[in-house]
């Protein structure tokens, strides 16, 4: 019996290739000025899911993304790399969502798929860099989570347990937990595979289809039955049964007032004597002016 795997991915502005007008005057990201890419760590999460699928026969990889219609590109890319099912969660009501509202919508979408065993996502997105959406989604789903995973040490589909190696400051730890579980994946392992040429040609003209009804397991089958048309499901807030009060701006307690660029620079250098007394005095002085503590 295979596993149902769900990967949560995000299309992000390519912050590694920043041009002049990358930020708007109000301090928010000017998405139009930056090329949109697959969030790098999400690609590692997709790769992790595809490897699990290869090791546990009969598994299926579902990929979900919340975003504007242009985000279908990351879903196409997921199909090119081996995803069995993709859905775009898109609705004006989701606009301006913070991490709380985003994780709520994703939780609703995951539940729409029904039974699932492992949810995977990148540790963090390179636009907001919060690393909150994964853990919040796990909390809302009420399942286990292991964050910052760089390697899956063992996966026992029968006993429904997983052991993962997670990065921590200065080292790593191995954690064993039971399924269902959410994993956030770092870019230390799971080097993403390239897209498949065959799947790319199959799905390059894939279109989106509105799917408000019940989730259909047989909608898209891998291998010989590849179907290009209507391969991308479009789910709005109704389709995933989301409460509008918890979505988008309405469901987002975070309000960005302004973003300042803070540049830290040293203005003075003081040399002190290498003695316990002199060092002690310096520490006291730093505590007094709130540099330390």
């Amino acid at each position: 019996m295979g596993l149902n795997l769900i990967v949560l991915v995000k299309q992000v502005p390519d912050t590694q290739n920043v041009t002049g007008n990358a930020m708007k005057e109000d301090g928010t990201v000017n998405r139009g000025a930056l090329p949109a890419i697959f969030n790098p760590e999400d690609l590692h999460a997709l790769e992790a899911a595809l490897r699990i699928k290869e090791s546990v026969p009969g598994s299926r990889v579902h990929v979900l993304t919340m975003g504007p219609p242009t985000a279908v590109q990351v879903l196409k890319d997921s199909l090119y790399r081996g995803a069995d099912f993709v859905a775009l969660i898109s609705d004006r009501r989701f606009a301006a969502a913070d991490t709380l509202a985003t994780s709520y919508a994703l939780k609703c979408a995951v539940e729409k798929i029904g039974s699932y065993d492992i949810v995977l996502c990148g540790r963090q997105a390179i636009d907001g860099d919060t690393a909150q959406v994964g853990p919040q989604t796990a909390e809302k789903l009420g399942i286990n989570q292991i964050t910052c995973v760089s390697e899956i040490v063992e996966l026992d589909a029968q006993k429904r347990t997983i052991t993962a190696r997670r990065s921590i400051e200065g080292g790593y730890e191995k954690i064993k937990a039971s399924l269902p579980i959410l994993l956030t994946i770092t870019d230390e392992g799971f080097t993403p595979r390239p897209p498949s040429a065959i799947r790319m040609m199959t799905y390059k003209n894939a279109t989106t289809a509105m799917s408000g009804g019940d989730f259909d397991e047989t909608y898209l089958t891998g291998g010989a039955g590849l179907k290009a048309e209507n391969a991308i499901n479009l789910w709005d807030s109704n389709a995933i049964g989301a409460d509008p009060e918890h979505c988008g701006l309405a469901g987002s307690p975070t309000k960005v007032r302004a973003i300042d660029l803070v540049v830290l620079k040293s203005e003075d250098i003081r040399m002190i004597e290498n003695s316990d007394e002199a060092i002690g005095d310096m520490v006291h002085e730093l505590v007094a002016d709130h540099t330390l503590g």
Binding site: P194, A197, R199, M201
Partner: protein, 569 residues
């Protein structure tokens, strides 16, 4: 993100302007898609779009995954461990990526899991791969072997092996050369004998076999015991088993990442491909011609890499108070390099397109025997052109890359002689290209017939019918050069001394290549002002070379033929 496809303006230029419509229609049998493959194109535009996407994918893998590991692959080389070849870590990694990306069946039919791409597109892929790492030969070999098997093998062999080649599950090799049969393959001795039950068994030694560890090999063997020469040779498919031993790996000057094996067959089972006794005359020649196109692409890829290194260094290196690229001897070298690469590329794509048309027409003839009469004259024309242009581009591109790699080191000065810089590797890797799949001297032998038979004149006439009103002066200069060449050709055809004809053959083929490239560059110049400059400088030097070569043939007294014995003993 680096990409060897999108960063190459000349490849993009050609892909935009090359006329592939007929090639695509023939290859796709007018988009019938009888295999019902979901990745089959529905139109010419759809096919071209897929080509671009897949080339972009390969360009990215080459730039991001292969090129950064090339120096390490060269340093690690290959090893023979317990009779099995172990690739360098980088080679194996990228091989796995190519397989995962479903690229190994690039030219194979879709029903076997391939992409069914034409040779023209394959040459672009092959160039990018060689630019990244010239020793990564597995991809190109797979296409040559797969296509040969697809063209000549039985349906049983095809359905058994082609899906495994397309998926990358099996590597492959062409097993032709022997210790005493290199350029002269007619001397092949490896024996194939048929047991009373009809099964074939192979016995003997093969040498210099690139990727001889491949799971599947095509073996040239002597099946007719008492028949000497080419007529006694047949072609066999061999799948690796314990009855073949890799005796050793060669320690080579370049392409260290590619294993060159000596193989010993001890009663190993072979499967006859096609008909008996056509092993060399038909199947090997077809395979070699296909591979020659690939080697030309490989040469251009190495040249592109060497040129880029030299250009970058010349920009950064300051001597006498300025970057060395501002010095006439240096910018002359760089300009010559760039022109030579573009002259090679335009001839490569022209050749690949001709080969694609020829193969497409042959395929069409098989599918629709009722249309044979219509197809035949076209087919003959493209077959003749393919037989002339393939050795021409193989000879030109592989000699060109050696000159370019040499000059790339020269531009680096002492630094280029050091192992720390890539040009040293390009120089070593380039060297094999003018040797394997037939030396340059053998390319001349293969091409000269196309000159004396009149194929070249027909080809030049065909180009002459195109519109060159965008560059009347250059066109005039080209016609003058052509006139000189034709005088030399008439002279050569009138000579009855074979040795003298053979002596001048290289010069004749070089002149013909020069002329074809001039027409092609002039054609390219229709679309771009920069290309007009390229054509102008090429044609200026070309016409001087032709004058020199023609004069040497027409007015020289061939003293070398008289004196060589006295001089070299």
């Amino acid at each position: 993100m680096e990409n060897f496809f999108t960063d190459n303006d000349d490849i993009l230029f050609h892909l935009e302007h090359i006329d592939l419509d007929r090639v695509i229609r023939l290859r796709e049998d007018d988009f019938r898609n009888e295999e019902n493959a979901p990745w089959a194109p529905e139109s010419v535009a759809d096919a071209k779009d897929s080509y671009v996407r897949v080339l972009e994918l390969i360009g990215r893998v080459c730039a991001e995954n292969l090129a950064p590991q090339a120096a390490e692959i060269d340093a690690q080389g290959v090893r023979l461990v317990n009779g099995e070849v172990v690739y360098a870590k980088g080679t194996q990694e990228v091989l796995d990526l190519f397989a995962k990306a479903d690229l190994m069946g690039f030219c194979l039919p879709r029903k076997y899991g391939g992409l069914n791409f034409p040779s023209t597109i394959l040459t672009i892929a092959a160039e990018m791969i060689a630019r990244a790492d010239a020793s990564f030969l597995n991809f190109g070999l797979q296409q040559d072997i797969g296509e040969t098997l697809n063209k000549f093998g039985s349906e049983e062999l095809k359905s058994k092996y082609l899906p495994r080649l397309a998926s990358g599950e099996c590597g492959s090799s062409m097993i032709l050369t022997e210790p005493d049969a290199g350029s002269d393959l007619q001397a092949v001795r490896l024996r194939a004998h048929q047991a009373p039950d009809g099964k074939w068994y192979l016995n003997g030694v093969k040498r210099f076999i690139t990727n001889g560890n491949g799971r599947i090999g095509l073996v040239l063997a002597r099946s007719e015991e008492n028949m000497q020469g080419a007529r006694g040779l047949s072609f066999f498919l061999y799948e690796r088993d314990e009855n073949m031993v890799i005796r050793r790996l060669e320690d080579k000057l370049g392409i260290h990442g590619s294993p060159t094996c000596e193989l010993q067959f001890n009663n190993a089972r072979g499967y006859l491909v096609g008909e008996r006794r056509r092993g060399l005359s038909k199947y090997t020649m077809w395979l070699m011609n296909s591979a020659r196109l690939g080697i030309a692409a490989q040469a251009i890829g190495i040249a592109e890499a060497a040129y880029r290194e030299a250009s970058k260094y010349a920009e950064e290196r300051v001597q006498f108070g300025a970057p060395v690229r501002s010095l006439p001897p240096v910018y002359e070298m760089l300009t010559e390099m760039k022109i030579a690469i573009e002259a090679a590329r335009t001839l490569l794509y022209e050749t690949a397109r001709i080969v694609d048309l020829k193969e497409g027409l042959e395929h069409m003839k098989e599918l629709h025997p009722d249309r044979a009469d219509q197809i035949n004259s076209d087919l003959k024309n493209y077959a003749r052109l393919a037989n002339l242009f393939t050795p021409m581009i193989k000879g030109y591109a592989t000699e060109m890359v050696n000159r370019i790699a040499y000059d790339a080191i020269q531009i680096h000065g002492g630094t280029g002689f050091m192992r720390d810089f890539n040009v040293e590797r390009h120089y070593r890797d380039a060297r094999i290209t003018s040797i394997y799949e037939g030396t340059t001297q053998l390319q001349v032998v293969a091409a000269i017939g196309g000159l004396t038979s009149g194929t070249i004149i027909n080809a030049l006439d065909e180009y002459e019918s195109e519109d060159f009103s965008h560059a009347p002066q250059l066109h005039k200069r080209l016609l003058t050069a052509r006139n000189r060449f034709e005088k030399a050709l008439v002279h050569i055809k009138g000579i009855e001394n074979d040795e003298l004809v053979s002596y001048h053959a290289r010069r004749m083929v070089e002149m013909a290549t020069d002329l074809v490239q001039s027409y092609l560059l002039l054609r390219d110049a229709r679309h771009s002002k920069r290309k007009l400059h390229v054509a102008e400088t090429f044609i200026e030097k070309m016409s001087t070379r032709i004058t020199m070569n023609a004069e040497f043939i027409l007015e020289g007294d061939s003293s070398l033929l008289r004196n060589h014995r006295e001089i070299i003993g």
